[in-house]
Subunit: 118 residues, 2 copies
DNA sequence: CTCATTCATTGACAAACGTCGATCTATGTG
DNA sequence: CACATAGATCGACGTTTGTCAATGAATGAG
């Protein structure tokens, strides 16, 4: 579009062109993927339970507490691990999960929200 | 199922019954809704732009920066406002948005992640 | 080996989501 | 009044999501 050929605007311009995106597509997608992992009530409960526990927690303890079918819990745990929020550890037949306590802070940092949190 | 009638387990129990949900359904859903608002790359960019600006930003400035159709930008802004993350202000024909800088901190607090952030 | 247990994976289904074109409302100009 | 502009709302579309039953893989007991 040729700006010079435009008729004079009947409404004055409200703001300057200002700065660019200030965040690459990759950064935005990476940050969104972490928050997407926390965007489900069940996964919020999981993260909260793990945040309250100083030791890794067994899946056999999470499943009854969440009152969901076992494949559903496994599905949510995988999403949290893929997002980098949880760490998995196998002990014999059992699988234990614990929180990676730096991950959320990293996402909030990219958002430029450090000052707004805590 | 009658527990007393079960045969002895061939695998020992891994953990105690332990604590309950420790987070109500309403708290989990409320927290998840805030993170859901941040679970899209476009909305991450919007929040980042607003976080970098000390003054409210006009929609007419957001739309070209995001390279998306105007109804799409309006849709994302509504989701962020509904989540309590953004505040809307009408100035004549234009709509300005700014960040509610306490909202994310509140969500992270419910998660019990204060210590892990910042 | 056989069997039981824990957990992950697959497949299917309904619900929710992101995107955009078309339309509507509200504000300001003349 | 008529007209132009900014932005919200509506409908439709393809994609993604949460859930579960069924199945598969891995570990341990006997």
């Amino acid at each position: 579009m040729n700006v010079d050929a435009l008729p004079l605007l009947s409404v004055p311009a409200c703001c300057q062109p200002l700065d660019g995106p200030s965040l690459t597509d990759a950064e935005a997608e990476g940050t969104a993927s972490v928050f997407k992992a926390l965007s489900d009530p069940t996964r919020v409960k999981i993260v909260n339970m793990l945040a309250r526990s100083s030791e890794p927690v067994c899946v056999c303890e999470l499943t009854p507490a969440l009152r969901l079918a076992q494949p559903t819990v496994s599905h949510h745990l995988k999403k949290l691990v893929d997002a980098g929020l949880l760490l998995r550890e196998q002990r014999g037949v059992w699988a234990f999960y614990r929180l990676d306590r730096d991950a959320v802070g990293r996402a909030a940092g990219i958002l430029d929200l450090e000052g707004a949190i805590a």
